[in-house]
Amino acid sequence: MTLHPDLAITFSPLHRLQWEEAQQKYIILYPEGMVELNQSSAEILKCCNGERNVQHIIDELETKFATSGLAKDITAFLNVALENSWIQQKVD
């Protein structure tokens, strides 16, 4: 499974992304498990709304944090997320 550059990315409906007050962290919840996220990973996943592709997400975050050069890190993380089924890409 590899990340397709043009397809929109959706956070998996079989997982849940949630802010945890007690931990002051975002976590991903799924059957029998959970993963704690650092801030940048959480920001990336929050962008996976089913409308943006990889480049849109990079643009969005570079604008939001008034920075550049995020492409490599974001792409790497999205690949990890796809491998773990946290995100999906659908051809319709």
């Binding site: 499974m1 409906p13 079989l14 849940r16 949630q18 945890e20 007690a22 931990q23 976590i27 919840l29 799924y30 059957p31 029998e32 959970m34 089924s85």
Partner: protein
């Protein structure tokens, strides 16, 4: 030195010990019939609120059969409001499509259905109830309603030869997660161990099939394979460390650091009717008993792996050596490691004709506690 206390993350709510099935590997205590005083709805609502405030987020409704509690939907709805990720751990027996919808609307996140085997005959024999087709139907409904479908099969000598068919069944039912759990020998499984423990050859064959399947379905189905620790030379890291992550509440309100801790002597496990979850988690004797490594004897005390497995399972040490402060005898460094081979040999020599399986039901529970 005091050990840093981390907040609980997983709450297992054992709503009732009642169950329409009679699995001979059930992990409920042998004397479950003695705990008739189930918590009231208000108690459970309070427990859910308090544990969530402390940081618990994964929530399992279990039992026995949690469907037998008629306040289940109310508890699920409360869990939803609190932000838990909730799981119904059920035999599926008696679950209707209407109830599955009702629970979904109340906010349940997923359902774990257990199957006893891949054939009707064996499933119904092990469950002590004719339930095979019903359970498969339930699995299909769960899937249809958009829940992640978690199929669970407990493995032992009676069904491990069906591994290939079990995997095919998981595929056919469209499981999103498959939990293949080799039996852990507590409760009724401990009692029936001679007849349940597979041989090493059986286990190796089954594991090879499961691992190949895991690769085949990668990306489509997630397979969790729980190894049978009797064939390992290091114990499992029980509960991720005592009092670090897991909190179990038994049907009568007793708070347990692990679901079989009830049998350990002298722990004085506290009841949620008397104490808050915070007091139980932080201050009770039971939850502090094996926290950190102060309690350890040799060989664990000076072992460089103690940060990995925390000395293994105390319940197993207690069941197999009579002393819960020992290293888990599964560990090859344990002076009691020989009991594991003895158990394997005893299982090898046992036959069902001389010594039948003892099914988990209240008649047997009564006989055993007299």
């Amino acid at each position: 030195m005091t050990t840093l206390i981390t907040p609980p993350r997983w709450l297992l709510a054992e709503l009732t010990y009642a169950c329409p099935l009679q699995c001979p590997y059930c992990s409920n205590p042998l004397d479950y019939a003695n705990y008739k005083n189930e918590l009231a709805t208000d108690d459970w609502l309070r427990v859910l609120t308090q544990a969530r405030q402390m940081g618990a987020v994964q929530l399992g409704f279990s039992g026995g059969e949690p469907l037998l509690r008629n306040d289940l939907t109310e508890l699920v709805a409360h869990a939803k409001v609190l932000g838990y990720y909730s799981n119904l751990i059920t035999s599926g027996y008696g679950l209707t499509e209407e109830k599955i919808t009702q629970l979904k609307n109340a906010g349940l996140d997923h359902i774990q259905v257990s199957m006893q085997a891949s054939s009707q005959e064996l499933n119904d024999y092990l469950a002590g109830t004719s339930s095979f087709e019903d359970k498969k139907q339930v699995a299909r409904w769960v899937k249809k309603q958009g829940y992640p479908m978690v199929l669970c099969v407990v493995l032992h000598r009676e069904n491990i030869h069906q591994m290939a068919d079990i995997l095919a069944m998981a595929e056919e039912l469209g499981a999103d997660y498959l939990e293949l759990a080799n039996t852990q020998y507590y409760g009724w499984a401990h009692l029936n161990r001679d007849l349940l423990l597979p041989t090493k050859a059986q286990f190796i064959q089954a594991e090879a099939l499961a691992q190949a399947f895991k690769e085949k379905v990668a990306g489509k189905m997630k397979v969790y394979y729980v190894v049978p620790d009797f064939y390992e030379d290091r114990p499992k890291a029980c509960m991720n460390g005592w009092g670090t992550t897991f909190l179990t509440i038994a049907p009568d309100g007793v708070a347990l650091p692990c679901h079989s801790a009830r049998q350990l002597p002298g722990l004085e496990c506290p009841n949620v009717k008397d104490f808050s979850i915070e007091a139980i988690w932080k201050e009770s004797k039971a939850f502090n008993f094996f926290r950190g490594d102060e309690w350890m004897q040799e060989p664990c005390r000076s072992c460089d792996e103690k940060g990995k497995d925390f000395g293994g399972c105390h319940c197993q040490a207690y069941l197999l050596t009579g002393d819960m402060h020992q290293a888990d005898p599964v560990c090859s460094k344990s002076p009691h490691h020989g009991v594991i081979q003895q158990a394997i040999d005893a299982a090898h020599n046992a036959s069902r004709t001389e010594q039948p399986l003892v099914f988990r039901n209240s008649k047997n529970a009564r006989l055993l506690s007299n």
